[in-house]
């Protein structure tokens, strides 16, 4: 039993919210497509355009839901739990100078209340002893009694530290939603400013997403003025483009999504932690920012001209695979991170180079090939995607299990995206199915359930589940009617969601 499991539980709740959101969204998208098909006919070009635009709703909705969940979890569970764990650690070291404020009615709040009461009680007991020693020193009729009392106080638990009067109130720190919104707008400004640069802006946007997570952090800490300036720049850049054009909404959503991902990677609802927490948080941020770049490139590719789609998606695949292949265990975080130039230093590390050249690059190339083939023949993309997944799963490449899970998640998503390009209407469902397979793959890819099975057995099980999930999704594309696929996907997701939060190393 430990509060330390709260972050893991929070991550799984994040997946759960995707399930709770994804299936209704899928039903909504399918119903809208079906309604449009009935109303305007299956051969209308407008139907194909709608089918291409509707999938954008999933990442947007998913992002909003995950952000909302992150805020709720962060403010009500993760940050208070982290604070309590920190204070408990301090208490174990006999440091009782800070006490949490009384919490809410839930269990975490009850613990905060009990902890605060307990620390104040301890402080009072210690103060009473001090007063007693003072009284004895002042009133002692026999010489030496006061000295003896003072000596007793000095000898008493020399490591223990108390506040001079009342313990200082310790409150959880949390970024406010308005502040994070400003961060998003600031990152949006950068993306929009890069937009009129022409085709090169795709790469620029990915680069922004890569660094944006880190760049947003100094902005966030440097004050609100910088953010408001960035907001003004965003509005100016937006007005310089075509704000009322037909592509304004999807374009705006795509850019906002990229900006949001960058800020998500750069900011955090969890609040500042210790040095160790910061390192882990930054590693996650790096992976998240790279994933943001990949998603951005893929989205922009979907929205852009046909000739650039394959290349852009290949870039997205490469970046996504890199994101999946940036596990905490393999990539050491430099001590002086988050200076932007530290990214280059990171790339000089042998472990990172190995990950990129042995894992991400071949996988990305294979995925790019799959996507290229998909433009001619969808069935070939499946074969190529399976090949890419096998390549990513090769043993001895120095990749961790979660890394392979991430790579396979990218495979599933991008193969489905390839199908989306080749056959827009029919691929809405597989896109979601592959996304669900990816959701299934990720938690199962982490060795879990201590005591239930050895890590090796769980790894084998996880690998089987991942491949089964991918095959299921692929088969579902061709064979299963939507209702059955929905049910099967929901059932397949349940183990991933309901796995115990207490994971082994």
């Amino acid at each position: 039993m430990s509060l330390a499991t709260a972050p893991r539980a929070g991550r799984r709740l994040g997946l759960l919210v995707l399930l709770l959101l994804g299936l209704p969204w899928l039903a909504l998208a399918l119903a809208v497509l079906e309604g449009l098909r009935t109303e305007i006919g299956a051969t209308e070009p407008a139907l194909a355009a709608a089918a291409a635009a509707l999938p954008l709703g999933l990442p947007v909705a998913g992002f909003v839901a995950v952000e909302a969940m992150a805020y709720l979890l962060g403010s009500r569970l993760l940050v208070p739990a982290a604070l309590l764990a920190q204070l408990a650690g301090a208490g174990a070291a006999l440091d009782f100078r800070r006490a949490p404020r009384s919490g809410q009615a839930d269990e975490i709040g009850q613990l905060a209340t009990a902890f605060g009461r307990f620390i104040r009680h301890l402080t009072r007991r210690r103060q009473e002893l001090d007063w007693m020693a003072s009284d004895i020193a002042g009133d002692a009729l026999v010489e030496g009694a006061g000295d003896r009392a003072t000596a007793l106080l000095v000898r008493l638990a020399p490591a223990a530290r108390f506040a001079a009067e009342d313990p200082a109130p310790a409150e959880p720190w949390l970024d406010t939603p308005a502040h994070r919104l400003l961060c998003g707008l600031a990152a949006c400004a950068v993306g929009l400013a890069a937009a009129p640069l022409g085709p090169a802006w795709l790469a620029a946007l990915a680069a922004v997403a890569l660094l944006g997570g880190r760049l947003a952090e100094p902005l966030r800490r440097s004050g609100v003025v910088a953010l408001w300036l960035a907001l003004a720049a965003a509005l100016a850049a937006w007005l310089c483009t075509d704000p009322l054009g037909p592509t304004a909404l999807p374009h705006g959503l795509a850019v906002a999504l990229v900006a949001g991902l960058a800020v998500h990677a750069g900011g955090g609802w969890r609040g500042p932690g210790g040095a160790a927490a910061d390192a882990a948080w930054l590693r996650g941020g790096l992976a998240g920012a790279v994933a943001g770049g990949g998603v951005a490139a893929a989205l922009v590719g979907l929205l852009g001209p046909e000739t650039e789609v394959a290349l852009t998606l290949a870039l997205g695949a490469l970046v996504l695979a890199t994101a999946g292949l940036a596990p905490a265990a393999a990539v050491a975080t430099p001590a002086d991170w988050p200076a932007p130039q530290a990214a280059l230093r990171l790339l000089r590390q042998a472990a990172v180079r190995r990950l990129v050249f042995l894992g991400a690059l071949p996988g990305g190339l294979a995925l790019g090939g799959a996507i290229g083939l998909a433009s001619a023949e969808p069935a070939l993309s499946i074969i190529a995607a399976v090949g890419a997944s096998l390549l990513l799963a090769l043993p001895g490449a120095g990749l961790s299990i979660p890394a392979r899970g991430g790579g396979l998640a990218a495979v599933g998503l991008l193969a489905a995206a390839a199908l989306l390009l080749a056959c827009p209407v029919a691929a809405v469902l597989p896109l979601l199915a592959a996304a669900f397979a990816a959701v299934l793959a990720w938690p199962l890819a982490t060795p879990c359930c201590p005591g239930l099975a050895s890590p090796q057995q769980v790894a084998i099980l996880a690998a089987l589940a991942r491949h089964a999930g991918t095959v299921l999704a692929m088969a579902g594309i061709v064979l299963l009617p939507p209702a059955i696929l929905l049910a099967v996907t929901a059932l397949a997701l349940l183990p991933a969601v309901l796995l115990p939060a207490a994971e082994g190393g």
């Binding site: 039993m1 430990s2 509060l3 539980a9 799984r12 709740l13 759960l16 919210v17 399930l19 709770l20 959101l21 299936l23 899928l26 039903a27 399918l30 119903a31 809208v32 449009l36 070009p45 407008a46 355009a49 709608a50 954008l56 947007v60 998913g62 992002f63 839901a65 995950v66 909302a68 979890l73 009500r76 739990a81 309590l84 408990a88 301090a90 208490g91 174990a92 839930d106 269990e107 975490i108 613990l111 009990a114 902890f115 307990f118 301890l122 007991r125 002893l129 007693m132 004895i136 002692a140 009729l141 026999v142 003896r148 009392a149 007793l152 008493l156 929901a490 969601v497 309901l498 115990p500």
Partner: protein
């Protein structure tokens, strides 16, 4: 309590996410309906223009209007609003289909044999029809989404309980442990005997968070030491007092 809150957070976050998805779906569906309707209306206007220039012209259907080259209303459905006529009257010689606030409009010029523009036939489809079709599509989508959402709720409830249950139990256990230790100390203080934290810790620490147990253990030992120090001080005072 925490699990119930987690379940409510899940619902709130999912609904917050579904809102932009619904907006995007509505925008997409509306754009598709408009585009398809405009294409259909333009084709119908073209067919009507051809039919009107045949030896036996048909009667103008509802929503159709015949305008002169100068843009004046010649014949047709009186229900077509004048605001649309202003749009239709601009550049009569050009074939055009556009979406306006009041509805969709398609214009097909009518040419004489020598190529001069005689006027144009205008077809209008009120916005209300489009909105009704859009509402029907979105309502069907919302109904399906709501059903799936409801079906997923049990999984979310079970998931929230399973995931947050251990955290809640650890927190509750920690709170109980700290309260028990504090109560035991107060009782011991009032009864003027020494606190024995060992049994309290053993009894209450099974479910508690490990870090809190460590803190309580250290604090228990400290309380014990405070007791001992207080007793020693009292002894020192008593020894120093005159008999």
């Amino acid at each position: 309590m925490l699990a119930r809150r987690g379940f409510l957070w899940l619902i709130a976050a999912a609904l917050a996410g579904l809102l932009p998805a619904l907006l995007l779906a509505g925008h997409t569906a509306r754009a598709a309906l408009e585009q398809a309707s405009l294409a259909r209306l333009a084709a119908e206007a073209e067919d009507l223009a051809q039919a009107l220039q045949s030896p036996q012209p048909p009667a103008l259907p509802p929503g159709a209007l015949l305008i002169s080259a100068a843009g004046a209303r010649l014949a047709g459905d009186p229900a077509v609003p004048d605001s649309l006529l202003q749009n239709a009257a601009a550049a009569v010689s050009q074939r055009q289909a556009m979406a306006l606030t009041a509805g969709l409009l398609a214009r097909q010029p009518l040419h004489a044999a020598d190529g001069t523009v005689l006027g144009a036939v205008v077809l209008w489809q009120p916005a209300a029809g489009l909105e009704a079709r859009l509402a029907g599509i979105l309502l069907r989508g919302l109904r399906d989404a709501a059903v799936l959402f409801l079906l997923c709720l049990p999984a979310a409830w079970i998931g929230a309980r399973l995931l947050l249950g251990p955290v809640a139990a650890a927190a509750l256990g920690g709170a109980a442990l700290l309260d028990a230790l504090r109560s035991a100390d107060i009782t011991a203080e009032q009864a003027e005997h020494r606190l024995e934290p060992g049994p309290v810790l053993e009894a209450a620490s099974e479910q508690a968070d490990l870090a809190v147990v460590a803190a309580a253990t250290a604090a228990g030992a400290l309380l014990n030491e405070l007791d001992a120090s207080a007793a020693a001080m009292l002894r020192a005072e008593a020894e120093g007092a005159p008999a």
